[in-house]
Assembly symmetry: C2
Homo-oligomer: 220 residues x 2
DNA sequence: GACGCCGGAATCGTATACGATTCGTCGAGG
DNA sequence: CCTCGACGAATCGTATACGATTCCGGCGTC
């Protein structure tokens, strides 16, 4: 692991490095995060590492056990579903907010990302790329919603979901194909501008909840 | 300030003490949190205090400025409205989840809290008590929703809103009276069980958004 | 052979120490 | 009297040190 050493304080650099490693799966659920090891790896003292880990703890990415140490958080099936349910809620609302504000440029960008996603669905699955495209697609729309806290919460939720590795390991190719179609529908609705907000929200929520249905039963 | 010294690690105790002080307004928005001062106050070294503050930072209750120090977060009018808008979203959903699960006991408890709130609305306003009753009312309902992350997020949102002191200083007595009536309506709807979830959600959302309307203009 | 106890290694939690940065103030020069 | 610079106090950020707790493996006993 390496520190991006651009005038950041060390705890900040450690924080970013650890977070990135957890969200991208280089540390998986249940993995131990030993202070002294990480400190040696990154060539800092344990103090800033502890600060970084406290922040990660507050974000529910890691869990501390007193006098034992920290581990990357693990989600059981139920917890995972509850998280995605919240994602569905926030995402649905973000889309409604975006409905009135979205620009043609943003619509085009989202369309491109979804087209790229469709290509991925056709070929052999590169999970990392799929997850990245998928998130970027949704994030383009969130950005139009123009509510900083909403975006922040959505990012945090996505990070926790990514960190759980459930999507990376259990997302069926078949579901991806459906998701791409649902994205197209969503963009159509946003372009048309004649869909009622309530209907748009209901529909978008369902899109997220479909991920639960597609994966339910695969966990545990 | 004092530490509740029950087998907690020191950073945990400091964290709770600081958080409580911020949410209850003993530290107000913009107040400085000087490490060495707090450490001396609580009779610990600065190290655990820093850990506690990093957690508070991650929860957006305080903001650090490098080499300068930490302050209790300040919300401008727009940020405050965005937060309450998110509260409306989550709260509305929590109520819908609670609709199917709520017990007569919970309904009674909520009714008692709202009755107490009505008493407060009549007499001279004790803001702290009003805020406490109000939160407890909503929390009883959240608990029935049975989604741990939803509850966690709602608590975190309420803490940020309380910490901003906007409600404590700007909530009009008139609005409190209306809110009490809306609470009664909500309980009626929950008891009746014949309201559609969509309608219940719309209605509950509006209840939270009314707080924005009541306060808009008073800020800044 | 199974069980429990003991001791050392690993790791955490906190205190202390100290260099680095910022901010305010005071004095000199204009 | 105002402006600018320099110095000192306050505060932060990080390293190091060390006691406390937990974990684990080996040894003795039954």
């Amino acid at each position: 692991m390496q520190l991006s050493s651009e005038g950041l304080s060390k705890h900040e650099a450690v924080y970013r490095a650890l977070r990135e490693a957890i969200v991208n799966g280089r540390y998986g659920p249940g993995d131990r995060l030993v202070l002294s090891v990480i400190a040696r790896d990154l060539d800092v003292s344990p103090v800033p590492v502890r600060e970084a880990m406290r922040r990660l703890e507050a974000e529910s990415l890691v869990t501390f056990e007193r006098n034992v140490g920290a581990r990357v958080n693990t989600l059981d099936g139920e917890a995972w579903e509850q998280l995605v349910e919240m994602l569905a809620l926030l995402d649905g609302y973000a889309v409604v907010r975006a409905q009135r504000r979205i620009t043609p440029a943003a619509l085009d960008e989202a369309q491109e990302l979804n087209d790229a996603l469709r290509d991925q669905a056709a070929g052999p699955t590169d999970h990392e790329r799929v997850m990245s495209l998928h998130r970027r697609f949704h994030r383009v729309i969130y950005a139009c919603g123009d509510n900083e806290y909403l975006i922040e919460s959505l990012d945090s939720l996505w990070d926790r979901i990514d960190a759980s590795r459930v999507l990376a390991s259990e997302y069926p190719a078949k579901r991806l194909a459906s998701a791409v179609d649902e994205h197209d529908d969503l963009l159509r609705q946003l372009r048309a501008r004649d869909v009622s907000p309530a209907e748009l929200e209901r529909c978008t929520r369902q899109h997220s909840l479909n991920a639960i249905l597609a994966i339910r039963g695969r966990l545990r």
